[in-house]
Symmetry: C2
Subunit: 356 residues, 2 copies
C-alpha cells in the first residue's frame, strides 16, 4: 500500500515525539511491504515565528493532498500570559480541523496492564477497560451564538445541533462498534435539553440500521459517575462537543497518564492523528518526552485512515512489550522502576523498533 | 433555641428515613436544650394521591412559615413508564425550590474512614477528602429559551446567567469557605463560553471581598479530571447548574455510596435538607433503607439554617461512631460485615441515638 503522510510536528515536544512516531511508521512499512512517503508542514508557534501565521496556506494544501496527518502539539507559554494576543498557536489546530472538515474526535482509552497502578482508580475496576470515545467537534455550545445583553449584566451561549451533525458522527460510532464489542452508549441530557432530545432521536434512528449493536442512552451526569464506578461497562461512547470534552478528560485520568493517550480527528477526508498531551515546554528539548502517545497515534492512523488492522495491532503489541520489559519514560516511571529502565525519548523509540 | 421544622417525607423510603432524621433532631434538642416543633406536609406521589397536586398550596404555606424543611424523597415508578404524564411527583420538588427561592444546592462530600473502601478510587487518594459543592439551581441551560428551527431539524438551548445569580451563590460559597479551609474553586468553561466569562468575572469581584480565601478557577473538563486524580485538593467548589449537576454526581461515586450523602437547598429564606438518594421503591416498606443520609441532612440543617455547629458536629460524630462500631445498613455492608452488624433502618437509628 502506498500512502502519503504529512508530519506536522508543531510546538514543544511535538518535534521529538513525532520523530519516533515516524520511525515506527517506517518500520511498519518495511516489515509489511508498504510504501509511506512523507512531507512536513508548519503549525502553531513555529509557524507564527516563520510566517506570521499559525496555519500557513501551504500547510492546508499539503494536508489536503495527503492521506493522513501525524500531528505533534501546538502552544507556547508566551501566549498563556497574554490572553489578548490576536494571533495564537491554538488557532492553527482549530483552523486545520475546520479546513479539513474534521467533525469527530476519537479517543481510545485502553489500559496497558503494566500501567494499571498509575491511576487513582483501583486496578480491579480498570483491568480490561477498553473505551472508544467519539466526541463531536464542530457543533454544540462551542459554535452557537453568544453574547451579552442587559448592559452586559447577562451573558448567554447557544447549545445547538442539527440532524446531519448528529447523524454523521453516530454512523461513525456505530460502524466502529461493529468492529469491537458491538455496544454504543450515547450520552446526552435529554431530560432537560432540546438539543439533547434531537441528539437522542437521531441516534435512535441510526441505531435501527445496526440491529446487532446494543445501544444505551445515559445522561451526562450519570455517565460521569459510571465512568469511575464501572469503566468496563463501556465500549463505544458517542457524545456532543461539550459533554465529550468533559468525559474524555475525566477518562484520561482513568488511564492514569496523559502521556499514553492518542487521538484521531476524522471527517470525510484526511484524518489527523495526535497525542492528547500538549506541547509541554517545560521538558522540550531535554529528550525525556514520552513518545508512546505519538506512536499510538500512528497506530490509530494505520487502523482508521489506512484500514491496516494487523499493522496497527503490531504497533500496540510493541508498546505492550516494551512496557512488559519494564521500560518507562520519566512520566510513567514510579518508585519501583529501576533507574536503568527509565529511558529518554529516543531510547524508548529504539526499544520499540526492536520489538517490531 | 426555638425552631419550627416541617417534615416533608414524600415518597418511597422518604417516610422511613425522615422518621430517623426527626428522632435525631429530637435527641439533639433534648441534649442541648433547644425546642424543636414539627409539622408535616405532603409532596410528590403521596400528594397527588391525596389531593391531585404534587405540591399542595398547604405544603408551600407550611414550608414558608417554617425555619427549615426536613425532606425525604419524591418519585414513583408508575410515572417512569409514562413519560407523557402531565402531573408528576418531581414537579413537587422543582415547585417547592421555586416557591422558596432556593438557588443554591449544597452537597458535602465527606468520607467516613470506615467507608473508604467502598469507592472505586484508591483509599490513599480519598482519605481526608472533604469537599463542599455549591451548585447554582435556578439558572443556566436548564431555564434558558429552547426550541427547534429549520422545520425541526435543528434544536437549541440557551445557557444563560445574570450577574446577580452568580453573585449571590458566590457569596454563599465564600462565606462557607471562611468557616472551612478557606479555599474556593470556581468551575466554568471561560475559555469558550460567554456565560462562563461572566461567571468568572463576578466570582473574581466577590473574591476581592474575601482576601483570606484562596481562589482558583478551573475549566469543567479539568475539574472532572482533578476530582478523581486528587479529590483532597478541593475545599469549597462553586459552579453553575449544568456543571454542578455533572460534578456532584461524579463526586457521589468518590464517596462510594449514595446512601450516605446529604444535601441542602438554600436561598434567602427557609432551607430544605434532603438525602441525595431517591425514593427507592424497590426497598420501600422493608425497613432496610439507610437512614444516615437523612440524619446527615438533619446535621446540615442544624449547621446551616440554625447555626448550631456543635450540635451538627455531634450528629456527624455519632454517625462516625456507629460506623466505627461496625454497624452497617445493607447498602453499605460488604463481604467483611458480620451478619449481626447489618441493621435495618430503625435499629440503625437506635444505635445512633445511643451515641448521642
Ligand atoms: Mg478538554
Ligand atoms: Mg445529576
Amino acid at each position: 500500500m502506498k500512502k502519503h503522510i504529512v508530519v506536522i510536528a508543531g510546538d514543544g515536544i511535538g518535534q521529538e515525539v513525532t520523530a519516533v512516531g515516524k520511525q515506527v511508521l517506517n518500520r511498519i512499512a518495511e516489515k509489511f511491504g508498504h510504501e509511506f512517503t512523507y512531507d512536513e508542514a508548519l503549525i502553531g508557534h513555529v509557524a507564527i515565528e516563520a510566517t506570521g501565521n499559525p496555519l500557513p496556506a501551504e500547510t492546508i494544501a499539503k494536508s489536503k493532498a495527503s492521506d493522513a496527518i501525524l500531528f505533534g502539539a501546538v502552544g507556547h507559554p508566551k501566549y498563556d500570559n497574554d490572553p489578548s494576543a490576536k494571533v495564537r498557536p491554538e488557532q492553527g489546530l482549530l483552523g486545520i480541523r475546520k479546513a479539513l472538515g474534521l467533525y469527530a474526535n476519537l479517543r481510545p482509552i485502553k489500559l496497558f496492564d503494566e500501567l494499571l497502578q498509575a491511576s487513582s482508580i483501583k486496578p480491579e475496576f480498570l483491568k480490561g477497560a477498553d473505551i472508544l470515545f467519539f466526541r463531536e467537534l464542530t457543533g454544540d455550545v462551542y459554535f452557537g451564538e453568544r453574547g451579552r445583553k442587559d448592559e452586559g449584566s447577562t451573558a448567554y451561549d447557544t447549545m445547538i445541533y442539527s440532524r446531519y451533525e448528529v447523524e454523521r458522527i453516530a454512523v461513525k460510532a456505530f460502524e466502529a462498534a461493529m468492529t469491537r464489542r458491538k455496544k454504543v452508549c450515547s450520552v446526552d441530557k435529554a431530560n432537560v435539553l432540546e438539543s439533547s432530545r434531537l441528539w437522542r432521536e437521531v441516534v435512535q434512528e441510526v441505531a435501527k440500521r445496526y440491529p446487532d449493536v446494543e445501544v444505551e442512552h445515559q445522561f451526562i451526569d450519570a455517565a460521569a459517575m459510571l465512568l469511575i464506578k464501572d469503566p468496563r461497562r463501556f465500549d463505544v461512547v458517542v457524545t456532543g462537543n461539550l459533554f465529550g470534552d468533559i468525559l474524555t478528560d475525566e477518562a484520561s485520568q482513568i488511564a492514569g497518564s496523559m502521556g499514553m493517550l492518542a487521538s484521531a480527528s476524522v471527517g470525510d477526508s484526511t484524518g489527523l492523528y495526535e497525542p492528547i498531551h500538549g506541547s509541554a515546554h517545560d521538558i522540550t528539548g531535554k529528550g525525556v518526552a514520552n513518545p508512546l502517545a505519538s506512536v499510538l497515534s500512528a497506530a490509530l492512523m494505520l487502523d482508521i485512515s489506512f484500514g491496516l488492522k494487523e499493522e496497527a495491532e503490531a504497533v500496540v503489541n510493541a508498546v505492550d512489550q516494551v512496557l512488559k520489559a519494564g521500560y518507562r519514560t520519566r512520566d510513567i516511571a514510579d518508585s519501583n522502576t529501576p533507574a536503568d529502565k527509565v529511558l529518554g525519548t529516543q531510547a524508548m523509540g529504539e526499544q520499540l523498533l526492536a520489538c517490531l
